[in-house]
Symmetry: C2
Subunit: 321 residues, 2 copies
């Protein structure tokens, strides 16, 4: 089942089910007004939504430009950094060492979750000196998840899977992290894919708490990344859930991200410009790729093994704010 | 006007207005079902809620044990650390230097906002070795606040003021901060005061984006802190708002905290045990006060200059989880 949120002038939009062709939908307001409301009452809503998606009723043409983030705002957005190749490269780029517990203790940060960007919303460029970058990621939306959920018990709490553009202000990071409290201003509003999928929609590609498919990132129509989101995800989503429930419970609708998808093989490209710049430094001694400039377009999408688009595309233009 | 949320079996509870005696209320469901709904539509709801609070209609007796956090969950909970005495003492306690920009660049962290504790909910003690501590704070609830709001323009976005117990797992902090991404597991679910007040309810005590009143903290009935929340708040709430909107907008219902209230004068006591332990080390070479143990009760409250209780009391017992 694929769910999405149509802009209707309200803060949280209107829940819809998307048909298999990705071009038609059915309004789901008879089941729940919003995706958050459906997640709050999932046991009741899920079968009704599945019936609606699989039914014979009329469908409406889907205008992708009207889609918001599946959750236009969420109660929590927690982002991991589970692809260790990314951690190693990016820390190298800013002259920082990876933590000694890199392989045993997941890195996560608490992100801002009040003002998400829609999948086609502009990325605001406030100050080019801040070093605007994209980060292509995979994420899961959870149901109510108890404190101290073990990784082996985490699977049933994963309600939905979606893609992320974790917009980052690269040049604000060093000073911010030096203060010791983690990211804040360096992580502006995040964007999500048009569609949120129940895990079964991914078939065999969803196993072990990982999405075993390629995540494709394009910049101005050029493919810059085509990374396998599965095998090099050192901590699975189940591992991340165990970590983030160590000392508290999570409410329905909490989003947990994978961190920037990254593969050791340079042929797989990059899912953020910081990695490309680091590779340039390692190869030639000098970073030549600039961070994002006004007018550039970032596109993030994922297809299944048969080439069928799964999540719709995040497609965002950089606009001077 | 004082607002609160009554537990009614729903996730977000039922909005009520509290009468001046703090012992009676009127249901506000005819205006908005929840506090979040009222904040989402504040221009319409505020005058209606004020009319309800000031009206002549019947009132019901208020059972404080039924109150939840005014927002049982919020879209963002951003906590500052605006009392520099606290930063200096606590960093000294863990052998860390305050950042060089301490007086010019506010310290804030993004907190978890999905599962707040009610003002009388137990504080779960999962593992005594984690070093359970309270932190008594003041916070504001914002309306929709644009990106890059200047401090001088921030006042109209402050909708409500409330108190906080920012529960902290002191012994998890060093390893977590060493990883570089800030707090996560070391900050379990936060508790808030029963009542959220519009700033006018504080009279002259609300000025310059600070609450110029004493915040009283008791542990097992003994006063451990009676700190002035006003004059030593180095960054005002307006300064904090300017900082946290540097690169993104905030949605209605976002909560911004002051950080642990702390005064240089030791006679004012402490608003967390970590400070008391640090003072013990500085005075005698050894910390003797233990962190919270099972059965202890933390009480946090604030009265106006005439001694009238303002926010109701946070009163939480530590219970083994």
């Amino acid at each position: 089942m694929r769910l999405a949120t149509l802009r209707d002038g309200s803060r949280d939009g209107a829940l819809i089910v998307v048909l298999p062709d990705g071009q038609r939908y059915r309004p789901a307001g008879t089941v729940a007004p919003t995706l958050q409301a459906a997640l709050d009452d999932w046991a009741r809503c899920e079968p009704l939504l599945r019936a609606l998606a699989g039914g014979e009723g009329d469908a409406l043409p889907l205008d992708h430009a009207r889609l918001h983030s599946p959750l236009p705002r969420a109660y929590e957005w927690i982002d991991g950094s589970a692809y260790l190749n990314h951690v190693r490269l990016v820390r190298k780029a800013r002259g920082a060492e990876p933590p000694p517990t890199l392989e045993t203790d997941p890195l996560v940060y608490q992100g801002g979750s009040g003002t998400f960007l829609g999948p086609r919303d502009a990325i605001p460029l406030v100050d080019p000196a801040w070093g605007l970058d994209f980060e292509s990621e995979v994420a899961v939306v959870l149901g109510d998840t108890p404190m101290q959920t073990a990784a082996r018990d985490a699977s049933p709490y994963v309600r939905l899977v979606l893609l992320v553009n974790d917009v980052t202000l690269r040049n604000l990071i060093p000073d911010e992290l030096a203060k010791g409290f983690g990211f804040f201003c360096s992580k502006p509003s995040t964007a999500f894919s048009p569609f949120a999928l129940t895990p079964d929609e991914l078939g065999d590609a969803w196993h072990g708490g990982r999405v075993h498919l390629r995540l494709k990132t394009e910049l101005d129509g050029e493919t810059v990344g085509d990374a396998d989101a599965g095998s090099e995800m050192h901590f699975s989503f189940y591992d991340l859930i165990a970590h983030v429930t160590k000392s508290r419970a999570l409410t329905a609708g909490t989003i947990v991200g994978s961190g920037t998808v990254s593969n050791v093989d340079p042929a797989r490209g990059v899912s953020c410009l910081a990695e490309r710049r680091t590779r340039e430094v390692l190869d030639t001694g000098k970073a030549v790729t600039p961070f994002l400039v006004e007018g550039q377009v970032v596109r993030i999408a994922m297809a299944d093994a048969a080439g069928r688009d799964l999540f719709g595309a995040i497609e965002q233009r950089v606009v001077r704010a």
